[in-house]
Symmetry: C4
């Protein structure tokens, strides 16, 4: 939008296609990118299934090469078309884009490296950028804002939960002992977290009456304190709700977050154009 | 209601019985339908229990035949009595009604087809129409509306959870490996969803210390982020039901937030103009 | 309070002791009753533990006899001291009181009857009456009222969950089949409820890829829709909050639920005495 | 702050370092204390892992000695620098500080006492004091206050849940019996709590159809009533944070619900008097 009239050449057109979703070419680009990312992830998943890899290993590798090639072109396209390539390259999305390209090339040097699988899964994060361009922005922003605002309370809550789990885990270790599967304090803390979060795998379970009694306390505790983060987010979302719907800005003083039915700016009294 | 005076014949009476619940005949029809639907489902369930099928297989098949006959009659009744039969036949409930009738007839051609069982369970959806006619409408509508309004946010939330599960599942696959039961990435993602949603079957459990450590993070994450959809629905439901319904103010002392049924001002005793 | 001056005899004194908690004797009576109920339940529990029954069976039986004797006396005391004994005997608490006494006597006729254990556990319900007399009333009432008001919505929600579980359970039965433990549709529906409610015992788990995929959908569904009842109760509790704190009634028109800062009755304009 | 000018000697400086976090020395002290507490807990945990203890037992014991020495010095420093040492020694944190020091010395008398491990985990509680000095205070206080205010309701809720679990546990014991793992009523109540809180270990599972049916009721109950504590905390947190903080009205058009920082009326543009 604030692009100068002079760079209406190749770089400007490229920028429009890659970064914007308003034009037909831009939308098509986004759709192809989305399809390739999903395809790439599906390929990674299928390759890990032994019988499928055995049969379609060749085809999956070819698909991976095509995807890597496209992502490489796209990465250079982004670098060229943007005004400040260094800023882009060092931004979060710039790094994710680079990480999406690397596995294909590292595989040439160290074939079959195990950690590459995780790197390839990182590509999934790229979808968030594409989504940014569509109509989920508002919803996403509201969620993120609510989480940010209750961040401190969530930190206090999480910290308390972890302290609780360590202390209760230590007690369970003393009560149950190694013969019930509570072989060490870290193992016992792991079990306490499994129980408090109501996951309850059942790989380790208390067998002594006292251990079972303490377990019930841990469970009821976990069942009850889940209300705390829920209440926090609820309260924050309700508080956020009213101010976040109106997107207009005052032409006079640039103030935003007006009420939905606002006719005049709350800050300078200037009439808002509706 | 907007029925013309001329079609007070058989079709009109049929329509009243089948579609309305105000008359005695209409209510009776709904009750019989409700009973037959429940009976039909119970029959499907019992037939799947081997010892019961062995003993009462004959009786259950006869019951199924009677129910199919009734549902067929009812389906034609609906087709005849409605003004635009094609619109009905292609509507959601029209298709469900047809699907409720089919299994009985398909069974004649392909006896004992396995997927018929699922088709017969579809009948259960028909109850929602009967409930539509009674006093649950308001409550149901409010729920559906709250879900609809927070749809976008729920979509963003679900998408983020799935991305998270795929990335964490891939990491767990690398960390734990096939010997702990994490045989492939899809399996590992399945396990991550089992853990994040706090279901925790325990059919696969991490055995390496690092795997157990990452598991605890997944569990605490799952325990914490459940607050997000809860907060969303809560906020939406609270917004839908304004806490202070009464908006009037006392003309004498300007006090507000009166009870909905207030006749006099709680602050000065002045009569409120209603 | 509305007792006539004439029945200040034995029955009146008994009534004060048994039904009121304001006097010293009344409080003492409540405390003894509370202790005996808890003792009785502990005795029932301990008697079910084989080694304890083997050793202390005699002592536990004697304790049961003393408790039954006291409860019998108390039951007759309640019958005598109350104005309308028949109304009491047929009220909920009257029946619970009778059921608390019966097990001891039935045991004489059918010694060791298995179902008596459950009857004896019913005694636990009596504690609610004692609690009624203390300071938990307000809190309890608010909870019960919130639950009552969102009853219709909860019914719609529960009904939808059950329909969902039956349909998903039937699908899982077709997909997984008896060899994975999904031996019948009722069993499969049981598994679906175990999974949807995020309990996840792990006694039955899906083994086919398609079954595991449907499972993840069930889990995410269960993880998400828990937000609905939570949101309902939250919204109801928030709505209830403001009107439920003030306990005074208007002397003129007997209206209650005034605002906390009310000076005049909202219904008749009469001045409230604060 | 209310320190007299005369005690600017050693005790005052010590007090500033130990109790305050405003000065550089105070911050450094807090950081060292935090590091030592975490280190101490890590040491306790690692010592419980048999292979690690076997290899690094000596080093861990030396670390424990250094930490005990530091904590001892710190405890005496607190005693000396505070104005009323007895009040401190008998305060909650005073006792926790003493308990943090004791294990090292008790170990000299009874080497390897099992319960010492739990005592050492108590040290973790000390972190809460350090956190008190930083920016989590507000968030923590708000949480604690919300919990305090809904205390009575939570007590009623918890009590009802426990009564429910005992009664349902007794019924399950009668229905399932010892051969399914429901060996006694306490065991059965333990299982009911495991199920109701949606933990679901799976170490004991119902096998009779009736038992499984009752289980599904317990699960749906547990799935549903979790909404109650969540709703309580949500309602309390929302009440604590009023959604519309601004109570002023426009003198010109009488509009209310202005933003907190509004200078002009959003409805008519008239200047609000602040």
């Amino acid at each position: 939008m604030q692009q100068e009239g002079t760079n209406t050449g190749f770089r400007y057109r490229l920028h429009t296609i890659i970064y914007e979703a308003d034009t037909r070419a831009g939308k098509l680009f986004d759709l192809i990118l989305l399809a390739l990312i999903v395809l790439s992830i599906v390929a990674v998943m299928l390759e890990s299934v032994v019988p499928i890899k055995y049969r379609y290993g060749k085809e999956l590798q070819i698909a991976e090469w095509i995807i890597t090639a496209f992502f490489t072109l796209e990465y250079f396209g982004r670098l060229i078309s943007v005004k400040k390539p260094v800023v882009y390259a060092l931004s979060l999305y710039g790094i994710i884009d680079l990480l999406s390209v690397l596995p294909g090339y590292i595989d040439l040097i160290y074939p079959g490296a195990h950690f590459l699988v995780a790197l390839r899964a990182v590509r999934l994060l790229r979808i968030f950028r594409i989504l940014k361009l569509v109509h989920f922005v508002g919803a996403g922003n509201q969620l993120v804002e609510a989480l940010k605002k209750s961040r401190n309370k969530i930190a206090v809550f999480l910290y308390s939960v972890i302290v609780l789990c360590i202390i209760l885990g230590t007690i369970m270790y003393i009560v149950e002992g190694p013969e019930s599967g509570f072989t060490s304090i870290p193992m016992s803390v792991y079990w306490t977290i499994v129980t408090l979060t109501t996951v309850g795998f059942g790989d380790i379970t208390p067998v002594t009456p006292l251990g079972q009694f303490i377990s019930t306390i841990i469970m009821i505790l976990g069942y009850g304190i889940i209300a705390v983060p829920t209440g926090l987010i609820s309260a924050q979302l309700i508080k956020n709700e009213p101010t976040s719907l109106n997107t207009q800005r005052c032409r006079n003083c640039n103030a935003d977050h007006h009420r939905d039915d606002a006719i005049y700016c709350y800050n300078c009294g200037y009439k808002l154009n509706l």
